[in-house]
């Protein structure tokens, strides 16, 4: 039987079952009384309109929840590899700048979780050859549209915000969050096109 903890009196938190975020969101939103769901890297929270009433069997059943029948979309993001950390990243990895750009643009990523800032998508699938720890000193302001990497993730900052990732470029001619909401959704497959 799966465990959960109270996150106040309107939400619960539990360990993330090994399923896609898209599938988890769909399954948890079907629970009675649930109004919102957040899937983080290793935990899930379910938000209720009133005091949560949870059957532990619901959580246990997530491990075998049917996959979301709507597949993620394929999204191409026009990109310019002109970030202020590009040279440092290449040096730290022992590669050329061109290598770094080619590796980053050559991979297909998946929106695995969303968080941090409205519409920010954690893209999994960064080539292991580009793995670096976060910067030791985060920047207080990273401009909207900046492409960054850290660990085995990449992402694009939708808004000006603080940030601790390595800045390698920026998207061109697109907004990551507009009046209709975020450009990327859970499950989308994303490529960067120089």
């Amino acid at each position: 039987v799966a465990d959960w903890v109270a996150l106040g009196d309107r939400a619960i938190r539990f360990a993330r079952p090994e399923r896609s975020a898209r599938t988890l969101v769909r399954a948890v939103r079907a629970w009675p009384g649930v109004i919102d769901v957040v899937v983080a890297r290793s935990e899930v929270a379910a938000y209720f309109a009133a005091e949560p009433r949870v059957d532990p069997a619901w959580i246990a059943a997530l491990a075998s929840a049917p996959d979301d029948p709507e597949p993620g979309r394929d999204v191409a993001l026009p990109a310019a590899y002109n970030g202020p950390d590009l040279a440092d990243v290449a040096a730290a990895l022992g590669r050329t700048v061109d290598d770094v750009c080619a590796l980053h643009a050559g991979a297909t990523y998946t929106v695995e979780t969303m968080g941090f800032s409205p519409g920010f998508a954690y893209l999994s699938g960064l080539p292991a050859a580009l793995e670096l720890p976060r910067r030791t000193t985060p920047r207080t302001r990273v401009p909207a549209g900046t492409i960054a990497i850290a660990g085995l993730s990449t992402g694009v900052y939708p808004f000006d915000s603080p940030g601790g990732w390595h800045l390698i470029g920026s998207v061109v001619g697109i907004k990551m969050f507009g009046p209709d909401g975020p450009l990327l959704q859970l499950g989308d497959r994303v490529r960067f096109v120089p």
Binding site: A6, G8, A11, V38, A45, M114, G119
Partner: protein
């Protein structure tokens, strides 16, 4: 156009009851900082509970360009004749709501009419803005006030908490310190977080991980000074949560003026 903003000091925005159902896209619920006060102001002018109104953290003065009927969460309904001015202050509280009969006309943006500054939806209300009112139909007042989820507490009673869940990130006694000390609401507080000054809450060395957050969560950064998450909070965060404010008491907490003192209880 139905009124002109003469003066806006502090943080003045259009707010409704927020946007549900988008937290999985990292979009927080938003909406009124103190939903009960927005509802009270709307009901006073027979608006639907979720009608857009002006949230005032500071001061606002308007000049009517046509006859208006307005109310706040503390001032009863009144008529504002054409050409006359009306000044509202949130003092002695942190926030007040100005509702206009018919509601403020604001476009639906991503499922809500209120400003969500962190997502670039809507913006601050400023001097010289011209504001339109809508014509939402009149709603009959409910026979009885909306039932509170839990028994209402006295206005100055301590704010109730639900302890945890990140107990392993705090040294023994941290929660006792939180509920036995006075905390002051810092002026740097906004709709994202209400920052508190008081005894630092001692943390352990357990590494931070990014986890789902919730409205009212009390996050504790490394400096030990608690931050209570507001309606524009990030949906995930790395600081551990020592406790979450009971939803029934959240409005009382967010109503305490900047510089004011709060006390918590388990």
């Amino acid at each position: 156009m139905t009124f002109t903003v003469v003066r806006a000091l502090g943080l003045v925005t259009v707010q409704d009851l927020g946007r549900r159902g988008h937290m999985h896209e990292a979009v927080p619920p938003g909406g009124a900082l103190v939903a009960d006060r927005l509802i009270a102001a709307n009901r006073a002018v027979r608006n639907p509970d979720d009608a857009p109104a002006l949230e005032i953290l500071g001061q606002l003065a308007i000049r009517a360009e046509r006859a208006l009927e307005v109310a706040t969460d503390v001032l009863p309904p009144r008529a504002v004749p054409v050409g006359s001015e009306l000044a509202i202050t949130s003092e002695p509280r942190r926030v007040t709501y100005l509702a206009v009969r018919g509601g403020i006309a604001a476009p639906v943006m991503f499922g809500g009419r209120g400003a969500l500054l962190c997502a670039g939806l809507g913006g601050l209300v400023r001097a010289r803005d011209r504001v339109l009112t809508a014509e939402l139909p009149e709603v009959e007042l409910p026979a009885a006030p909306a039932a509170a989820a839990t028994a209402p507490a006295a206005p100055d009673a301590p704010i109730r908490l639900i302890a945890g869940p990140d107990f392993d990130h705090f040294a023994p006694g941290a929660l006792d310190l939180l509920v036995s000390s006075d905390y002051r609401v810092l002026p740097s507080s906004d709709r994202v977080g209400t920052r508190l000054d008081g005894p630092a809450l001692p943390r352990t060395g357990v590494p931070e991980v990014s986890r789902p957050m919730v409205l009212g969560a009390i996050e504790v950064p490394r400096d030990g000074k608690p931050i209570v998450l507001g309606p524009e909070h990030p949906t995930t965060g790395g600081y551990p949560v020592i406790a979450v404010v009971a939803r029934a008491d959240l409005g009382r907490l967010f109503s305490v003026r900047l510089g004011g003192t709060v006390r918590f209880t388990r």
